[in-house]
């Protein structure tokens, strides 16, 4: 039996808040002025987005114009806020917001040299949520619409499946392409140093200190091997609680380590992990927090 099968209305609502919350942050940080200044000639549509080539080139120019990108930012912020709050009618609002996310993604991706893997999970999750009853709990509307027997787990499981399969594919590729060599030679050292020296506004330089100690390098290599094993086995955490706890103990610190040692931070994935792999339905919040208990007694 799958763990997320029990994910109910509350987990789905939490996923809705987190996913559209991530897109809200991304929308707020989006700089339409900068993107509208970049030359259209370097824009390249990717994959499914190549459908734009069927339209006159003027459409692309409109999509990349300052007023359009400014409007996109504005509508995206409002849409994400509405989705987070659970404003009804949810489906039309959420589907429109997902459409705006796709347009945003089309614009940003077209000016990129590679994809931002951190946004893939929340991208697909937003699509799954938009077509689900994600607003039956934790919304601004007081009336709860939770219906027994309704399938609240589908978007949650699909998001968990997408995320864990992606991790697994990374691990398998690393073992198949890199073999054991990647874990035994100086490849990790090169990755750490290159990402530390390469420009990043985070600006952490921990790696440059760590590489001075031979035993730390050995520890990092062992850690890299353990993380790769955890990545390969990721989809199985959907079925086993012990494996899930072990996976969380390995992968959550790993994501913070990549921030401090490589200036790479998959904060979107960390937020998704916190919703998907913690059993929010059955947590006894009062027992977790003595303060709440004391407050309630008073």
């Amino acid at each position: 039996m799958m763990i997320q099968e029990n994910a109910g209305v509350k987990t789905l609502a939490l996923l809705r808040i987190v996913v559209f919350g991530c897109w809200l942050i991304i929308a707020v940080l989006f700089s339409p002025w900068s993107y509208s200044m970049l030359p259209v000639s370097i824009f390249e549509s990717w994959g499914a987005y190549r459908v734009i080539n069927l339209f006159p080139v003027e459409l692309l120019e409109i999509l990349l114009s300052e007023w359009f990108l400014l409007s996109l930012k504005g509508f995206l912020i409002v849409g994400c806020l509405f989705c987070m709050l659970g404003v009804r009618p949810f489906k039309p609002i959420a589907i429109f917001t997902v459409f705006l996310i796709v347009v945003y993604d089309f614009v940003v991706r077209g000016f990129n040299g590679f994809i931002n893997h951190a946004q893939i999970g929340i991208f697909f999750s937003a699509i799954f949520i938009a077509f689900s009853p994600a607003v039956d709990s934790l919304s601004i509307h007081k009336k709860r619409l939770e219906k027994p027997g309704k399938d609240y787990s589908f978007p949650t499981v699909l998001t968990a499946l997408t995320l864990t399969l992606a991790y697994s594919f990374i691990g398998i590729r690393r073992f198949m392409v890199g073999g054991l060599e990647i874990l035994t030679n100086d490849a990790l050292l090169t990755y750490l140093v290159r990402n530390t020296l390469n420009y990043s506004p985070y600006g952490f330089e921990l790696s440059l200190t760590l590489i001075e100690y031979g035993w730390v390098i050995l520890l990092l290599k062992v850690g890299f091997f353990v993380v790769t094993i955890a990545e390969v086995l990721s989809p199985f955490i959907l079925f086993n609680n012990y494996l899930r706890y072990a996976w969380l103990i390995i992968m959550v610190p790993f994501h913070f380590m990549t921030l401090f040692t490589m200036n790479i931070f998959f904060w979107e994935n960390l937020l998704l992990i916190s919703v998907l792999f913690i059993d929010w339905e059955n947590i006894n919040y009062a027992s977790l927090c003595p303060i709440i208990k004391v407050c309630r007694i008073k």
Binding site: M1, E5, I26, L29, F30, S31, W33, S34, M37, P39, S41, I42, E44, W46, G47, A48, Y49, D105, F111, N112, G113, F114, I115, N116, H117, F123, D151, V157, L158, L161, L165, A166, F169, I170, I172, R173, R174, M176, V177, G178, E181, I182, N185, D186, A187, L189, T190, Y191, V193, R194, L197, N198, Y199, S200, P201, L208, I211, I217, P235, L238
Partner: protein
């Protein structure tokens, strides 16, 4: 390649088998079953094709796999009228993740070196020009005279030190 595909199919097969009661429950609509199949098959196919530009939004996941990664990277330095140098703050273009856009600029430069075409050289030049314009929009009082692209090679000696070698690969003077 075949081994990798085999492993992926094994994992996916095991997952679909373990979760068959949920994924393919008789209560589940045909559309939802099709979505599951499309997602899983799409992810595998995208991973095999290995080209995001063809399969996007289905992605190729291959981070930190090559066992012999390149020991160089590019830096983008603004030079102001006082001769001071600073890293181009790419967060002015993308605040969330700068490196995919940095790669784009790097690709443009690589292409301009590889292909001797006026269009390609013009694309690089106009992009660097616009990057300076974006910077000056945020910092209007600073006069920028040049945007340099340097290739930085590094050597790491275990438990010892780091040696850096910089050489300029492209300079864009601001008129």
């Amino acid at each position: 390649m075949e081994m990798e595909l085999l492993f992926k199919l094994l994992i996916v097969g095991a997952i679909l088998f373990l979760g068959k009661n949920w994924f393919f429950s008789s209560k589940r609509s045909l559309i939802r079953k099709a979505v599951v199949i499309f997602l899983v098959v799409g992810m595998i196919v995208a991973q095999q094709i290995k080209d995001h530009k063809v399969t996007y939004p289905l992605a190729n996941w291959s981070m930190y796999s090559p066992p012999f990664p390149a020991n160089h990277y590019k830096e983008y330095m603004l030079v102001n009228s006082d001769g001071e140098k600073l890293h181009y703050p790419f967060e002015l273009v993308n605040s969330v993740n700068q490196r995919p856009f940095m790669r784009k600029v790097s690709d443009l430069e690589d292409e301009s070196l590889r292909v001797e075409s006026d269009v390609v050289i013009e694309n690089l030049g106009s992009t660097l020009e616009k990057l300076v314009n974006i910077y000056q929009k945020y910092y209007p009082n600073e006069e920028i005279v040049e945007l340099k692209i340097n290739v930085v090679q590094f050597e790491v000696y275990e438990s010892d030190s780091l040696v850096l070698n910089r050489f300029n690969s492209h300079s864009h003077k601001i008129e």
